[in-house]
Structures are given as C-alpha cells and as structure tokens.
C-alpha cells in the first residue's frame, strides 16, 4: 500500500536523513592564521593578570602571554581578540572552540589535564591559596587555626572551595563558606563584613588589596594551603599549537636568563656571541621552523612584551608580590626554561 502515492514513497526518503556526522576540528594554528587573530580567553578583571588598564586596553601577565603568541604567529601583538570569562565559563569556552587558548590564571591539576579534553603547556605563574582578614575587626586572628568557625567568602568555579574544605578536614577546623559567583561579588561581601575572611590565590588577594583605599586594615595570613600552578590551557590533540604555546613560555624565560630584553633584543640578535641567545633570536638555530613559524618568532614576542622578568616587573610587582617561586631557577625560584636548541 505504500507505493501508490508520492507521499507514501517520501516516507522512505526520510529515514535517509539520519547520517553520521563527523566533526573536523582543524588545527588551531591554521585557524588562527586564516582568521588573522588569536582568540584568547582571559579574566574579566584581575589586576596584574588581565584587567583593562586606564586606556581601556587589556593588560597583565596573562594578557602578555596572548600578545607574545600573537606577535610570534601573526606578526603583531595587537592581533588578539580577548574574551573575558568567569571562572565557571572558561572551560566550556575552550572545549567548544570559542577561544583558541585560555590564559586566565587557571590551576593545572590532574583532572583538568586528563578528563576535560585539555592540556597545559607549562606553568606561567606559581601561586598558592591564602586567606585575608580585616585585622581591625578581628585583631586576634594571627594564623589560619584562629579562623575556626569563621565565615569565609569564596568564589564559585575555582579550586578554592575544595582546597578550603580539604584543609579544614585535615586540620579539624570548621569553616563556614559563603559562595558567590564572580570575584567582585565575593570581594564585596567580604569587605562589607559578611565574612570574617576571604580566600583565593595569594595573587588574587594582592590584586584586591592594591585597589583598596584602606588596605592597611587587612592582613594576609601566613599559611598557604595549596599549590596553584597557574598555566595556560589548550585543547588536546593539537601538537602543533601545543608546541608553540609551550616553547613561548620557555623562550620568554630563557630571554630573561640570557639577559635579552624588549629594548636590546635586536642588538643582541646582531651582536651576541652567546649560543643560547643566537638560538633564541633565530640567528643560528631553527627553533621557529620546528614550530611551524619563522626564525624571528621569539624576537617579535620579546619586542611585544619583553622577557618573563620584564612582564613580571610591569604587572605583578605593583601588587606588592615578591618574585619568590616565580624567580628563575638560578635565582632561587622554580622557573626553569628547557634549553632551546
């Protein structure tokens, strides 16, 4: 009975409509070159890492990393489109391909490295979770154990909530978390006195304090309760872009180690007899070629943002944070650039 009318026949055609779909996620590098811009996921506003400066342009150490990559890949540090993201939007933005990379003070841990379709090319900033209190309101609090049974403001979407709960369990303390979405709401609640303390990465606390008129009232407690290696985050299965992202970190740190700066990079390239500098600047070795870029890649990045130390001085030092773990390995820190060769 199904072959009498066209309608009946068209029924069969419908079943063909279900075809298997294959998604082709082209290599990130090709997409960036074709588009002519690097799409970088950044923080909505964290002084020192990524926040709009006085002229309204994004600035900070995380932003510098994006600029360096854009300079190396596209020839100009201005060819970046910044996508401001909250802690909780960031992973979806990366997974869905909305951004090319996430440069947004993101902690590198095993779960994020293995189950979220992402990888971390290297550590860009060593941090740790700290607590800040208003010492005027709570003059007796000197250490974290004194905060037993205190209310603590914390932002959702970070590793902070869990670290705090872990610490409390391990040390038989009770913290009462008050969880907000967004860093501003969290900081505001803390400043109003709703919470006795505020916890986040120590760089985040420094960034908040530097903008407060009465920062003398606040004290950062001495305990650092977690390791927070902050790192750029990329999609998996894209070795080409991964290599560029990784070696950009090392190149900028190697530049600091070898004394190559934003100001002297061209002169160093022409004059330096140091083999490490010659390889870095592309005078002799072909590091850039292996990355699918040209020989000048690192020179352009250095011209754009300077070496790691310069970026740190410019962005993080004003927060009052010492170099500490973020110093080079030969200066007592943890930053150890793999050799460029």
């Amino acid at each position: 009975m199904f072959n009498k009318k066209p309608l009946c026949r068209s029924l069969a055609a419908l079943s063909l409509g279900v075809a298997a779909g294959s998604t082709f996620a082209g290599p990130t590098l090709d997409a960036i070159k074709q588009r002519g811009t690097l799409v970088c996921g950044v923080h909505t506003g964290l002084t020192g890492f990524s926040a709009p400066d006085k002229s309204g342009k994004y600035a900070g150490i995380d932003v510098d990393y994006c600029k360096a990559l854009a300079a190396a890949i596209l020839g100009s540090p201005d060819k970046v489109k910044y996508v401001p993201l909250t802690a909780q939007q960031r992973f979806t933005a990366l997974q869905s391909g909305e951004i090319d990379l996430l440069s947004r003070n993101t902690t590198w841990n095993s779960k994020r490295d293995t189950t979220m379709g992402s990888v971390f090319p290297g550590v860009w900033f060593y941090d740790g979770q700290a607590f800040v209190i208003n010492s005027k309101k709570n003059p007796k609090v000197k250490k974290l154990a004194d905060l037993n049974k205190a209310s603590i403001c914390v932002e959702t979407g970070t590793t902070t909530e869990r670290n705090m709960a872990d610490y409390a369990r391990a040390n038989k303390l009770t913290f009462k978390p008050v969880v907000f979405e967004g860093q501003e709401a969290t900081e505001k609640a803390f400043q109003s006195g709703r919470c006795d303390a505020y916890t986040t990465d120590s760089s985040g606390i420094a960034a908040m304090l530097v903008n407060l008129p009465n920062k003398g009232d606040y004290t950062v407690l001495p305990e650092i309760i977690s390791k927070e290696p902050l790192a750029p985050m990329l999609r998996r299965n894209d070795q080409e872009f991964f290599a560029i992202a990784r070696w950009m970190i090392y190149a900028l740190q190697q530049a600091e180690e070898s004394g190559v700066t934003q100001a002297n990079v061209l002169r160093m390239k022409a004059e330096s007899k140091d083999p490490a500098v010659q390889r870095l600047t592309g005078a002799t070795a072909e590091v850039g070629k292996g990355l699918g870029l040209d020989a000048e890649w690192a020179v352009r990045a250095l011209q754009a943002v300077g070496n790691y130390g310069e970026s740190y001085e410019r962005n993080i030092k004003p927060l009052g944070l010492v170099r500490g773990m973020n110093a080079l390995w030969n200066k007592g820190g943890l930053m150890y650039p793999m050799p460029l060769d």
């Binding site: 779909g21 979806t92 379709g117 205190a150």
Partner: protein, 379 residues
C-alpha cells in the same frame, strides 16, 4: 486507503515525529562522538564521587566527604524550601495588595498601586542585590548586633532562640498538624450542615481551641521540654539557637515581594472579572463587605486566577536560581561548583534542567488539579 484524509494526517505526524526524533538522535550522537574524540569525560558516574566541598546551609546532613549526588540534593532542597516559603508569602501579600488596589479607601488604593508599579518594573536581580546590600551593608557587624528581645539582628542574619531537639516539640508539631486537619474536616462538616439545616455550628473558636490545645497536649505528654538553645556570641559568630542567613532572607524577601506585585494584579483582575451583579446581590442579602469578598467574590474570582497564578509560582521557583548572585547555596550554586570541579558541564546542566522541569511540571500539575476542583460547575 492512502488517500484517506485520516491516513494522510497520521503519516504527516509520524513523519514530523521521526524527523524530530532523528534530529535529536543526531545531536546526541554528535555530542557523544565529539566529547569522546576530545577526551572529555562523559556520563553521570561523577555523581557517586566524593564532593569535597562545603555547603553553608542545608536541610539534611551533608559533609564534604559525601557524594556529588548528595550535594545536589542539598541544593535542590534549598531551592524547594526557599521557593515554598516565598510562594506562601507572595500569595498572602499579593492577595492583600490586590484587594487593596480595589479598596474604596483612596490612600490604601494609591499605596497598593504604587507598590505594584514600582516593584514589578524593577528587574528582580537588582532587587535581590538591593536587599542583600541592605542586609549586609546597613546592619551592624555581628559583634554589635541589634538586640530584639531574645533575638539578634546583624550582617550575619537573624539569630533566634530555638528549641533543643526533644520528642515533646515534635509531638507539639504533630498536634498542630492534627489540629489543622481536624479544623479542615470540621469546617467541611459545618458547611454541609448549614446547607442542610440552614444553621452552622461555630467553626472559628473550636478550630483555634484545637490549634492551641492539641500541640499543648502533645508537648505535655512527651515530657514538657522547656529547654531552648539561645544564641550567644562566641568567637566570630553567634552559637546555638537558629541563625537565618542574610542570603536566605534577601532571596526570600526579593522573591516574595517581586512576585506579590504580579499576584496582586492577578487578584485584582480576578475580582474585577466577577460581575457587579454578584456583589450587588450579596449586598442585598445583607452580607458585609468582608463576607461578600470571602463568600461570593473570591470563590468565583479564583477560577480566573488559578491559571495565571500557576505561571507566577513557576516563575518564582525558576527565579530562585538567581540566588547564586547573592551566595545562597541553591541548586544552581551547588551544580556550578560540581560542574567546575568535575568539568562535566553538559551532564550538570542537563541534570539541572531536568530537575527544574520536573519541579515546574509538578507545580503545574498540582495547580491544574486544583483548578479542576474549583472550576465553575455548570448546572
């Protein structure tokens, strides 16, 4: 046979249905395929894992060592709890304001009108932030809490004395519920008697008496506990008693005040839909204004009010998800934390959507059932 209209209709509908089914199947397949090819974990097995984070307010026992599933339920109960109390408060306030808008008293009418126009035209999120700001910025710090008899009011909310757990208190609560049930049955019996005999036995006084005596009896029989836990300042905060957080209060106030404005308009519309003749007839029978409202107008207005009221209740429940802006640990807040710790965004969001859908359908079903009951019986 193929040409019959009925057959054609069935074919069209089957075709549409299979098209939709195919699209959804394709989307699901594509999703799983994409996630797998990008090495993103999928599935709901994360629900069994240890949550590892703390929640500030809960109706059931929860600790960081419990599972994500339990954390989810804690969040869900918080959402349901605040929605339920806010629905009750919004309905009462809305009823009062709605009747006030039709009051013969000029001042009352204008005040009610101003309330409705102001409140319903300001976005809810701003009202929530305003209430939260008022509670946390204007109230004194906890050490200088305002003393309200045995209770304390500060930035950290309201701390009240609270009965220490004892069987007697539960018996009293049970007595109260029993009294409510008896009062309901008695009122029904009284109404039937009035319909039959023209005179009804008193309802109000026996009900009130039951409401006092039954809890009292339950309380006395089970040991008459008199122990209250009172809030006392210890360290950072009040300890003992019961503390209602500013997050909860702000959310409760925001939701109920906002929704009440809409409910007031529904009440007004419902009352106006009852023809003037009904009111005149009731007046001619010698009923007072209160009696007219209660016995003649509201029961008829209810028919018109229930459907729009249902959507307000649904709105309120869904709007409670704005809680995340002011730090109340509702379903969305807990799910967000879960989502971020596990990275399983699609599962967490799907679960959240499914639960909101289920809650909304349940409210809707309940209201439809009630609507069916109060609809005009055609004779």
């Amino acid at each position: 046979m193929c040409s019959s209209e009925r057959f054609r209709n069935i074919v069209y509908q089957l075709a549409l249905l299979s098209l939709i089914g195919a699209l959804m199947g394709y989307a699901a397949y594509n999703l799983v395929h994409n996630l797998e090819s990008r090495a993103i974990a999928i599935g709901f097995s994360y629900l069994g894992q240890e949550a590892g984070f703390d929640i500030s307010e809960m109706l059931i026992v929860y600790e960081p060592k419990h599972s994500y599933a339990r954390a989810f339920i804690v969040g869900l109960l918080n959402t349901l709890f605040v929605s339920l109390v806010a629905i009750v408060a919004a309905s009462l306030l809305g009823l009062i304001v709605g009747i006030g808008r039709l009051s013969p008293n000029w001042l009352l009418r204008k005040l009610a009108g101003a309330y409705v126009e102001t409140v319903r035209n300001v976005p809810l999120i701003l009202q929530l932030l305003l209430w939260y700001g008022v509670l946390t910025e204007l109230l004194p710090p906890v050490a200088e809490a305002i003393v309200l008899g045995p209770a304390y009011l500060s930035q950290r909310g309201i701390s009240l004395p609270w009965p220490t757990a004892h069987a007697g208190w539960w018996a009293a609560l049970l007595g109260l519920l029993l009294a409510a049930l008896l009062a309901f049955l008695w009122a029904r019996a009284a109404k039937r008697r009035r319909d039959l005999a023209g005179r009804a036995p008193a309802v109000l006084w026996p009900s009130l008496a039951a409401g006092v005596l039954l809890p009292l009896a339950g309380w006395a029989v089970f040991g008459a506990p008199s122990e209250f836990s009172t809030p006392t300042m210890a360290g950072f905060d009040f300890e003992g008693g019961k503390t209602v957080s500013p997050e909860f209060i702000a959310l409760f106030l925001g939701l109920s005040i906002y929704t009440a404005a809409f409910i007031a308009e529904i009440v007004r519309g419902g009352i106006l839909s009852v023809s003037r003749g009904q009111s005149d007839a009731a007046e001619a029978l010698g009923l007072s204004r209160g009696q007219r409202l209660r016995l003649v107008i509201l029961p008829q207005a209810l028919r018109v009010m229930i459907p729009p009221l249902t959507s307000q209740y649904l709105n309120l429940t869904k709007n409670s998800s704005l809680a995340v802006a002011i730090g109340y640990p509702d379903l969305v807040s807990v799910s967000n934390t879960t989502l971020n710790q596990t990275g399983q965004a699609i599962e967490a969001i799907t679960l959240m959507m499914a639960v909101y859908l289920a809650v909304s359908l349940a409210i809707s079903g309940l209201m439809n059932w009630y609507n069916h009951r109060v609809r005009l019986v055609e004779r």
